[in-house]
Symmetry: D2
Subunit: 342 residues, 4 copies
């Protein structure tokens, strides 16, 4: 089977496994106080040009979203997100579970538009009854989005301006951040993201790690007693070394970006193949995911020829939207085989 | 000032106050175990033709919505509501505060449409990823709706059928129920509502009481240990007599319906006056609230001539939607004065 | 039946009912923005000598405790209380329902001892693992306590000093405050309580009102957007007039204190009668409640002679602790009849 | 440094790392649906003699406790635990965070005593006011306990009987289960534990895995839609393979028990050394942890000679309780060096 269904179907990049093996017999302190975690934090501070960044390693994206949102919002606040946002759709209510409403705005190619966010917040404060409504307390975006699209620098600046104007944090979900940073035409790098957002995370689970997300507070704004917050969310790993060692490795010699670039190179070939084969694109993405519209019969054929794809959603009664994803682990052989089988 | 801004700007119907005064020196047991509460429950069982109805008196509508929804849903379930529904907009996140998402569907005249609810639920179960989504666990409707509109019997039957098919409860918010029951052309009476829904409430706060809503579980489906649930929601009144006595009174000699009919008679005159004066209706309502679109300058004029209206929302940059409401307490003199001043 | 079982078995003081009746036809704005509520707030500011006090009227004690505690604590904090405290025992988990642990310390006559609170907090911070524990974020006391006992001024000062030293608020539950203020030998008045605590409430439900508690933030420390907080706790009364009018009345011509003094005078006679009749006191209280230990057979006899008492708890297999309470509504005739029947 | 401070200071048993490496390039489905997870589940069903056990792999102990407790309790229920229980003390309020009170009973050597649990529950139901109290809805025990002690079979049977009599689940926290199973004189094996409890977990984090706990529902009593529950607790690992592969390995050729037995053999030598050196035991444990009382000066000396110990708690002003723990990773060389240095 050729694995194009998602970007988390393999284990970890070999360098990370080797580092886990190499350090295995070292006795290290727990709960994220070990030297590898410290080293990883330093490297991320350097990479983000944010010397005082407060960095915590967590196990997964939903967990990170839940902790950030519930720890930064007041009880009466909700989080603005695109209606296609991961927190709005695919986290089984993890945000509401902690007491907060997701204030979903219509998306544009999976993205929020700054002027629409501004209007939403302005309208809220203009409403005479707003004390009876959920206050907008944060803006959540994902980059790349759930559709693989990217914010431009000017789009992110505009969102940042809106948030600062209303004194609410801008939170960027970077579950697939490396694929965004490595996109050919992006004008957003890690340092700019750190500068324009208040908190964001660098995804490892979908980019070379067994698991792990590096959560970064960039404005000395990490909630007080954050370790206790992580603990009562039941997200504090006893062996913090597991995420620390992997991120230490990912941020050595630019490995994280290199893996992103590899996936993008593979994705460009993938896109070309899909075009050659006449697939209809639902949306063209500059990153590692491509969404195409296929007849429902095609689903069976793909399985028969041994191509694993991701089912996204129903398009109409006879068509479906499906996803092809490359990743840090996609090989040239995979791509070549795909071309032959499609 | 003429009070047409809402239906809760006066105290209570005099008969209720008299009952409170008359019973004042009686020593009664607390927490809803007094004889007036018991009597009120029996009268409501009779009025709903539901001899085993489980009835609890609570202080307000948001409280009732919160308790019903959070006690009937599993942790992974959300509640389907119209996007204009009270729980979706004007309860400051009280539903999310207890951990549940409001699954908002587009409204039609403030109402949910059964076929759209059916499609939503079917699509949910058809989605391969639905374990990662919030499960639809209840349908919430208000009757009258927030726009004063009413479900017909066939519309309610259709919703009831959808809910029973999917084995989820249908919950009817009756904060203004009496105004709906008394509407001229409605084919829904209290008994039919009790039959077609799984749980609903009869609003007192907006219909003659100082405060109080009668929550009715109609299918022997009240969650176990409901007193403890009400208590930990901090909604158990020590002097349950206060709501018990009022509802006992409201359900004596059909007073509740009579108050509704009075408000409707006043509302019909109100509508006629608004028509005569050339107001543009945003929506025509068969109940005690009318929504009209006015130029923003009109807002000032209304205040100047001593007419209190309810500001609803911005219509466009130069117009607003405002509400005129009659109630159990609106007098013919109020209506006559309104005609003169408008 | 003679009602000595609790202090909330009658309706409201007649003056409050009269005020409700007198204002009944006035059109007033909702949600606590009416003139009676404003007037009540001003009178409470005066009575507490706290001109900038932030005052909110809520329906009941559990609700007030829940809102204060959940809105003032960080998510990782709990509230210190005596193990006999209302929040620790008799609120069906209302505090935990909002996510916070009650950190119960052993009581002394129903009270917390300042030095023990200090030790608890110091030990917490001295513990190397305290990030994995619930942080002490507030001290909760009741005055009078659940056993009718009272803090002295020096005891309250000592608690206040501990709280200020650790920068956490001191919260006083005054569900029965008037009975404490009116006790013969207390050296704590309303102004001193306002000064030494950070937040407290003045109970109406058990002291002359149909319902209602006046919550007072004394240090300009009311949480931001408190109306929204009250709303999403589902505790915002549409007809705020109901509590506003009653408290306006209770704080006119010292009525609140007068009712307290009346109950204390009745309680002194009650105590004398219990002594004369040879009852064994579990604890002597200076306020309106007395707890005595009786043989279980006595329970039946009391009921037979028409005396309603409050069952408190099992003492041993053959004895029970029961409560006799006077209140604002206890008459001399009640006391005389009690003497005859006991 | 000799690592005796805890049982989670090394990485994973080499066999587990090898399995992770060997499977690394396989494309596997996510969220616990991969073949290794399935194989691990089957092996655990076999080992527990519970062919229909419902097994889920989670990342850590606090997470597992939180999910089990919050998903099995009704909103008005709390969980009975020893006051030394992990959930009562060292989870930063993770249980309360989900709305539930920990009902702490005094411990006996870290354990709950069945008769005391029975009395607590009986007293609860005998209390006339129990509707205003937190209902006991589950019994939580840890085995080994936080003090390394073990329940005997008859003790566990007695607890099981109490729980079944009151129709509430018995939950066993097995964060260190393997060390209990391998203890010399225990009469509790895995099958008996599965039979006598309703739900329990087999800890991997402290017994040879990088992370991971195997949660086992033994009575076909896993809450409905459990995947969604795990997801909204943000505990669903995208790469379920990571825990699946490790547990598949731990339950191959009895490795899990073998690692436990190794640690116990090392612990017996440790105990002997501590006795020889004249240490005062706080409590003697039959498992891998020993708690001793030392003068505070000894703490410095231990560090100076390169022995890492776990600080447990203050004993008195001049003494401390400290922990020495062996684990699956303790070598004979470690023990020999300890003997020399102590």
């Amino acid at each position: 089977m050729l694995h194009f269904e998602n970007d988390y179907n393999k284990g970890a990049h070999p360098a990370l496994l080797e580092a886990l093996v190499a350090s295995n017999q070292e006795g290290l302190s727990g709960y994220g106080t070990d030297k590898y975690t410290e080293s990883a934090i330093e490297k991320i501070r350097l990479a983000t040009d944010c010397p005082h960044a407060q960095v915590t390693f967590l196990a997964g994206g939903t967990q990170t979203n839940q902790i950030v949102i519930s720890s930064m919002l007041a009880s009466y606040e909700g989080v603005i997100a695109a209606d296609t946002g991961h927190i709005a759709v695919h986290e089984a209510g993890a945000i509401e579970f902690t007491g907060h409403k997701v204030l979903a705005l219509p998306h544009t190619d999976g993205k929020l538009v700054a002027s629409e966010v501004e209007n939403y917040i302005s309208d809220f404060y203009a409403d005479a009854n707003h004390a009876h409504m959920v206050h907008p307390g944060m803006v959540y975006i994902s980059h790349p989005t759930e559709y693989g699209t990217l914010y431009s620098k000017s789009e992110l600046e505009a969102l940042s301006t809106v948030c600062r104007h209303h004194n609410i944090p801008l939170f960027l979900d970077g579950a697939r951040l490396g694929y965004g940073l490595a996109a050919r035409d992006t004008d957003l790098d890690l340092k700019t993201i750190a500068e324009l957002t208040d908190v964001f995370y660098i995804g490892g689970t979908k980019l070379g790690a067994l698991m792990g997300e590096a959560l970064v507070f960039t404005k000395n704004n990490q909630p007080k007693n954050f370790v206790s917050i992580v603990k009562h969310h039941s997200a504090l790993l006893a062996k913090g070394r597991v995420t620390g060692i992997q991120f230490d490795c990912l941020f050595t010699d630019d490995l994280y970006l290199e893996l992103g670039r590899h996936a993008i190179a593979m994705a460009e070939q993938l896109t070309q193949i899909l075009e050659e084969k006449g697939f209809q694109f639902y949306l063209k993405s500059p990153t590692n995911q491509q969404f195409v519209i296929v007849k429902n019969e095609e689903l069976t054929r793909l399985t028969e020829v041994g191509i694993a794809y991701g089912f996204w959603e129903k398009y109409d009664d006879s068509h479906s939207i499906i996803r092809f994803a490359t990743s840090w682990s996609t090989s040239q052989a995979d791509i070549d085989a795909l071309r032959n089988r499609l």
